[in-house]
Point group: C2
Chain length 199, copies 2
């Protein structure tokens, strides 16, 4: 692959190292960057450095923030007695987009995964326990993904929370709004029947 100038090859390599970007896409992206005006290319490089330099974890909830604590934790109107535990910062965004939840969050930055050698000490469980121990938390909502690892993490943490006497809940399983029974998988449909509610 030495048909391109070295500096261009290096840039292609960098793009190709990103998740979900193959060699061909990386080339297209590198060519696009080359075609940008000087200032735009510099702004791109600066955006990488700025994000890396200024973004870190909120001291309280571990979500990404530029200040010491994030806007949700700093807010006076959020209900601090309910903590929603998610695995990634992007999950916070998904829930915030719904504009219904008014509690605070705790970002684990991962899920327990013995296959990938991720144990309890590798994700922010300790910080959650400290938080539950130190402040007046009434409910912890486990909002990890409904897959094997997300489930296991939710179970593990709910067991650790038992001694603190807080209410631990899990997101409801069921058929997605706007979907179709015909195309809903068996496991989901079974859970929807089990969790049926009176109307």
């Amino acid at each position: 692959m030495s048909f391109f100038p070295a500096a261009l090859e290096t840039l292609v390599d960098r793009f190709a190292s990103l998740p979900g970007i193959g060699r061909k896409s990386a080339q297209r992206l590198a060519f696009h960057v080359l075609s940008l005006p000087e200032g735009e290319a510099r702004a791109f490089a600066d955006a990488i450095l700025d994000a890396k330099k200024n973004v870190h974890c909120c001291r309280i909830c571990q979500n990404l923030t530029e200040g010491e604590i994030c806007s949700v934790c700093a807010s006076q109107t959020r209900d601090k007695s309910t903590i929603c535990v998610v695995s990634e910062p992007r999950d916070v965004m998904s829930i915030e987009r719904g504009r219904e939840y008014n509690g605070v969050y705790h970002v684990l930055h991962g899920v327990l995964s013995p296959m990938s050698h991720v144990g309890p000490d590798d994700i922010r469980i300790k910080e959650l326990l400290t938080r539950v121990a130190d402040s007046e938390v009434e409910e912890v909502i486990m909002a990890t993904n409904p897959d094997t690892e997300g489930e296991a993490t939710a179970m593990y943490i709910s067991r650790l929370l038992k001694p603190f006497g807080v209410k631990t809940t899990r997101l409801a399983y069921g058929i997605p709004v706007g979907s179709n029974l015909e195309f809903t998988d068996d496991a989901t449909l079974n859970r929807a029947i089990e969790g049926r509610t009176e109307i």
Copy 2:
């Protein structure tokens, strides 16, 4: 979309401005960059700036290079009397990968496209004509893509080259090697029959 810190949002915006990268992919890429070690992130930013600063067009063939002329034009073993005209630098790589062609190239950096307001002065046609006029060129192979714009560009240039008395050729059309007649489209199959060769 103000759930992320500003520096992270900026980085997401930058990634989302790249071709073929949607909002969700841009978020994933930005999170990946955040998770990189400091040095890696800096190397990424530097790769962008370096490529932008050091890569420019070869004085002769307009392909991308870091020197004044590219390695193909500088090579003593390449046949300078045959010029292969392509629309993009990546096409040079595609042909080089075949390891059969031993002539030189000319990169147009685009194709004629009235719909996108790309006229003859917007791509490197003038440079090709100067080159054909000044050096001993025997054959110009038009290797633009086999689509409407690529065809039109090849036709346009071949007409301009007529007065110079050089042989102008076009890549062969036909069924791709390893493909299947059943799934070959009609136009390609017709061209393959027209261009049949004796065995």
